[in-house]
């Protein structure tokens, strides 16, 4: 006697390609070519959006102006994860933090090194220029400034 199958297992083959968009092009090309963060600016609301957006969410105006943002910021929130995105255990725990930057509205969520407290000052560490591909991973991580 063979047993009855009690479950059917499968996998949906779904692929997608996400284009970064008008503001994303500015943001990621600036990271790739100059190792610098860029925000889009609404001068009437005096807001610098990071990551940049093409519309101001306060006054709905189209944003054409871009301003550089410092590569150093402050940890707003953080966690240390011992599992990857699929729940598999990691050999080394990974820090992840929301980093805010002076003069910028918004922030970035990224990997961190040595962050242990909210309020820690951190700095973006970029890959070598020839290794950059125009991705958020062109920033290797944010390291704590001692």
């Amino acid at each position: 006697m063979t047993t009855e199958p009690i479950r059917v297992e499968g996998d949906f083959p779904v692929y997608f390609r996400y284009t970064v968009g008008v503001a994303g092009e500015k943001f990621f090309r600036e990271i790739m070519e100059n190792g610098r963060l860029m925000a889009s600016r609404c001068s009437s609301c005096n807001l610098n959006y990071l990551p940049p957006r093409i519309y101001c969410e306060r006054c709905m105006s189209r944003l054409e102006e871009y301003v550089p943002v410092e590569n150093e910021g402050t940890v707003e929130a953080f966690t240390i994860t011992h599992q990857d995105a699929e729940g598999n255990p990691l050999q080394e725990p990974v820090g992840v933090a929301l980093v805010r930057f002076p003069g910028a509205y918004g922030g970035l969520v990224h990997r961190t090194i040595d962050v242990l407290a909210i309020g820690d000052r951190v700095r973006a560490v970029f890959k070598d220029k020839k290794e950059r591909t125009g991705s958020i991973l062109d920033i290797k991580f944010f390291e704590k400034i001692s």
Binding site: T3, V14, E25
Partner: protein, 171 residues
């Protein structure tokens, strides 16, 4: 398109635009695994397929036989647990001739998905594919017979039947 919109908005993009990095993008494949509990009836049906049998259920009240099996009768609203072995022959209830595969690539040889009504069942059928047939020879009502995978390759799946092929009427 309309008096306000003369052409579609947006920028058309080709694969080479991505390769040349004229636009930046992120490729991603989410892992979408699933595990679907078969329940009593389908579990027994799949076990039957592995053994090379088509198993249905029969309602003791209205005598109707269905396949795939169900544990209730949708006509009488009664529980059903009379299991019956059915032949692997039947008729085409409906079918389609598709030159596009399930992943949307174009096909030179079409696939022919069809709903098969197994002999002995009433108003019941399941979706499968037709093989060894020219599409133009098929009709609704064409008699078909299951072509099974080798017993060592059957694993309790609807694909344990490879396809249904047109068959002669043998009473």
């Amino acid at each position: 398109m309309s008096k306000h919109l003369q052409k579609p908005p947006g920028v058309p993009l080709r694969e080479e635009d991505f390769e040349a990095q004229r636009v930046l993008s992120v490729m991603y494949r989410p892992k979408m695994r699933y595990s679907w509990a078969t329940g009593v009836a389908i579990g027994r049906f799949l076990k039957g397929l592995r053994e090379g049998k088509i198993i249905g259920t029969q309602c003791t009240h209205c005598r109707r036989i269905v396949v795939p099996p169900r544990v209730f009768c949708e006509w009488c609203f009664r529980p059903v647990n009379d299991w019956v072995d059915l032949p692997d022959t039947g008729i085409i209830n409906t079918f389609s001739v598709s030159y596009i595969s399930t992943d949307t690539t174009r096909l030179k040889t079409p696939i022919i998905p069809a709903v098969i009504e197994i002999d002995g069942t009433t108003h019941a059928g399941f979706l499968h594919v037709i093989g060894e047939a020219k599409p133009e020879t098929l009709k609704i009502g064409t008699r078909v017979k299951a072509v099974w995978a080798e017993s060592t390759k059957r694993r309790g799946s609807i694909t344990d039947i490879r396809y249904f092929k047109p068959a002669e009427w043998k009473p």
